[in-house]
């Protein structure tokens, strides 16, 4: 059962890569086709011919199977002059869309999964940070997250403590704000947009808005693809594939407060497509 997640917005294509053949894909078990019409306009239809709403934002084509009550969430930084917008492309993962988002919200895995890039032993400790569900925006936020990063930039030879902020504005999307080496005081924006194909299968579209005038675009794309592919080998080996919302199934610690809030927020809204409610 899809439930209220029916009415959320999801990415279904990269606008710049959508050719005249369009893209045949799926959204929560519903086959659909994203078409580029002759005039260049984009149209999305389900197999039985129903036209779906279309939004073009953050480099991607977005749609919804239901009747969205709000417009697509805002990322104000996306329009800030001077940022480079990085389209990372799609990667398919055999996991729940919710597991993909939860992994993105986690920093404690950096030393073991992104060794010598985002983290390294012995710097494994996660210090206390703040987590809240912002009622007005109806979003999950984690702030004052700090973690030791061994190689923050290509030029860096020693590690630094990097600051992070996490935001979950939609059930399968997350926005990460991270220390910007090129412009102290600003945040780099790294997002994870997840297209749920089925409860245990998703297409993941990372996207970034960075201050970086130095690196070639391909380097920026490759860096993020490398990070995400390291995560993929974890995501495909978690048991169960669905995200357990039953508190008895998995053991969180203080380092997992963002994930705890995310699970609570999902439960509160009945966003349970890709979740397992009762231990099996």
């Amino acid at each position: 059962m899809i439930g209220p997640m029916m009415d959320a917005w999801y990415p279904v294509a990269l606008e710049s890569r959508l050719g005249t053949n369009g893209r045949s894909t799926r959204l929560m078990d519903t086959p659909l086709h994203v078409a580029r019409l002759n005039g260049g306009a984009i149209e999305i239809r389900t197999e039985d011919g129903r036209a779906l709403p279309v939004r073009l934002r953050y480099g991607h084509v977005w749609t919804s199977l239901g009747a969205p009550t709000t417009d697509l969430f805002d990322i104000p930084e996306a329009d800030q002059p001077g940022r480079r917008l990085v389209e990372v492309g799609v990667v398919r993962v055999r996991c729940s869309p919710l597991r993909a988002v939860e992994n993105f919200l986690d920093i404690a895995h950096f030393p073991f999964v992104h060794t010598d890039i985002l983290g390294a032993e012995p710097h494994t400790e996660v210090e206390k940070y703040e987590v809240e569900i912002r009622e007005k925006e109806d979003e999950v936020w984690a702030t004052q997250v700090k973690f030791y990063q061994p190689q923050a930039a290509k030029s860096a030879s020693t590690g630094i403590t990097t600051d992070y902020m996490y935001r979950v504005p939609a059930p399968t999307c997350s926005v990460l704000y991270k220390t910007c080496p090129a412009r102290p005081g600003e945040w780099d924006v790294i997002t994870l947009f997840v297209q749920p194909l089925a409860e245990d299968l998703c297409d993941v579209w990372p996207w970034m808005a960075l201050f970086d005038d130095e690196s070639p675009m391909t380097d920026l794309i490759h860096f993020q693809q490398m990070i995400f592919l390291q995560d993929r080998s974890i995501l495909e080996n978690q048991i169960p594939r669905l995200l357990p919302l039953d508190p008895g199934m998995e053991i969180p610690t203080r380092a997992d407060l963002t994930s705890v809030a995310y699970r609570r927020w999902l439960k509160r809204h009945n966003y349970t497509y890709g979740a397992q409610l009762v231990a099996q």
Binding site: V91, R92, T115, H123, T124, T218, H222, M226, L229, S233
Partner: protein
């Protein structure tokens, strides 16, 4: 030497790994293979009409086949990696060097299909991949009986490096590596070689570094 490289390509990783094991510095030129398909642009097709990566340029030499690149790297920087010492080993090395292309076609094909949704018959590629893994398992089992841990000899050769990446990444194409104990031991030996480097999906052996002392982090932080 300049390598036209894609970070997620097992074939490109072969060359990066070989160079690292030999201590040969490479100048990397990242190519936007996915999503940009830069390797199919006219500029690249002029360089390599086959439209494949990697491409290795060394002075006037331009190579587009990974086997040739491995031979070139080993000949110039590490002749020990070539099984030239006896005719049987030399022939085996060639055999498994060529066999690696079957791994690229089967396991690599399944991975492209499954992970990046490139066109292909996934079930058929997976079947071919399993046949290739079984063949490799038999060989490595026999090598163990001969007290040899590697494909052509008792020490690693370019043939091992040619086969290693696609094998370890087989799960990316939905193919399990669980039932191949000799393959497991072989890839563990390769991951333990001095100069070994990782790629996404191929981890280092964390057990080879010491368990840190909880207070070590503070000490290093103070030193910085």
């Amino acid at each position: 030497m300049k390598l036209y490289d894609y970070i997620l390509s097992p074939s490109c990783y072969k060359i990066r790994l070989m160079a690292s094991l030999l201590g040969v510095p490479l100048t990397l030129r990242p190519v936007d293979f996915h999503p940009g398909e830069e390797h199919l642009t006219p500029e690249f097709l002029a360089l390599n009409p086959a439209g494949t990566l990697p491409i290795l340029a060394d002075g006037g030499l331009l190579l587009t086949e990974t086997s040739a690149m491995l031979v070139h790297l080993a000949t110039s920087a590490g002749p020990d990696w070539l099984a030239r010492h006896d005719p049987q080993a030399a022939a085996s090395e060639q055999q498994w060097l060529s066999f690696a292309h079957r791994l690229t076609a089967s396991l690599g094909g399944a991975r492209l299909c499954d992970m990046f949704q490139r066109p292909g018959d996934l079930a058929s590629l997976q079947r071919q991949g399993i046949m290739a893994l079984r063949e490799l398992e038999v060989r490595l089992f026999e090598q163990r009986l001969r007290q040899q841990a590697f494909l052509a000899s008792d020490r690693p050769t370019i043939a091992d490096i040619a086969c290693f990446p696609h094998v370890v990444l087989a799960p990316d194409g939905g193919i399990s590596l669980d039932p191949y104990p000799s393959i497991r031991l072989w890839q563990r030996s390769i991951r333990g070689l001095p100069g070994f480097i990782e790629m996404p999906g191929i981890y280092r052996r964390h057990e080879l570094s010491e368990e840190p002392d909880p207070d070590a982090a503070n000490e290093t932080a103070e030193q910085v």
